[in-house]
Symmetry: C2
């Protein structure tokens, strides 16, 4: 098994989702799970689950289902970085605070270590559990705290410049929530998400369903 081969993005997404659900199940004291159960929880097929687990080389021993604890651990070995990676939120407004409060204490291998803003009201305060730094100190702070991932939640008109800055300061991955489409060098991984797209997609299928089903 080529352990050093990059997994397809889709598989990585599902592995993250498997783990999220498995952790919930562990909390409910469930210890084993069948592929078809996990599939049903994610609205996918059991084959897909088994295929994904095959890709990461995980094998269950069979017939009793997967050992949830073990599987969570295996997924971690594949998708987490051993030493952990440090994350910052850039732009501590409505969305930034929501993300911070959600993120807090969730993932042991991804540490939310800082946020940045240009609002004097926010600078040097702890907001939603994370210290807010002056955006002017970003270069220094990113280096000092060894931050490699940024969650971008500044206003649209600040997005482009801010993105160029953080890339210059050594950020290697960006989750962009602004409505602005960014350009980054090929060695920086960029993921973009816009809620409006999700809502419009829902609306489209609702509309189509209403057309055919009344």
């Amino acid at each position: 098994m080529m352990q050093n081969m990059k997994l397809p993005g889709k598989t990585v997404e599902r592995l993250s989702e498997y783990r999220r659900i498995l952790l919930n199940l562990l909390a409910e004291k469930k210890n084993y799970i069948y592929s078809y159960e996990l599939a049903a929880l994610l609205h996918i097929t059991a084959v897909q689950v088994r295929r994904d687990l095959m890709l990461i080389g995980y094998s269950s021993g069979a017939r009793k289902g997967y050992d949830i604890r073990e599987l969570v651990e295996t997924i971690g070995r594949i998708i987490d970085s051993e030493e952990g990676l440090n994350v910052a939120i850039v732009g501590m407004g409505n969305l930034g605070r929501a993300v911070a409060s959600y993120f807090r204490g969730k993932r042991s291998k991804l540490n939310l270590v800082a946020s940045f803003d240009n609002d004097p009201q926010k600078i040097n305060k702890v907001i939603s559990g994370v210290k807010c730094f002056d955006i002017k100190t970003m270069e220094q702070t990113i280096r000092d705290l060894n931050i490699s991932i940024a969650i971008l939640t500044v206003p649209p008109d600040a997005a482009k410049n801010t993105c160029d800055e953080i890339v210059r300061y050594g950020i290697r991955g960006i989750l962009n929530f602004t409505t602005v489409s960014l350009k980054v060098p090929p060695d920086v991984y960029l993921e973009e998400y816009d809620m409006i797209t999700s809502i419009e997609k829902v609306a489209y299928f609702v509309k189509e369903n209403l057309k055919t089903q009344g």
Copy 2:
């Protein structure tokens, strides 16, 4: 051209993204755009853009690029519902408020007409521009205001029950931001999004890139 054929979900997503970007460009007084320009803004290929537009039967006249205003209008005719659809946010916490403030005044065919919560502090107040109703009045309010789409942002432990309720009250599409995986009847369209998955995906590729590039 089969106008009544459902488009692939991926195409619907891209159409929404095209429109978002085109509206930004219009605001900057740009009137025409080539397929390759639009593609670059979305990090996809020009062929994909042209293919999507072919699917919705849009034709440019050629060589001067697409008329942005016209294209925005055409996309609207395809993905929007003519009469508009009404949307509610269920759970007006950190994320609910962030979504509300983002949504406000954005889409003319999707109207954010209500939010629901069980916190007496919030009930009957206008929060982030939208009135917050008592969750107990949800059945009535959903019917009165003809709400067909819900954005679910309640705490995880309330998610399942709340989802069952809104489905019973006639909701036809749900955008689920809770970490709980929901089950809905086949005539209800469900879209789920978890930020942690996005961040873990970024982290995975950052890790892999660091391995190969130092």
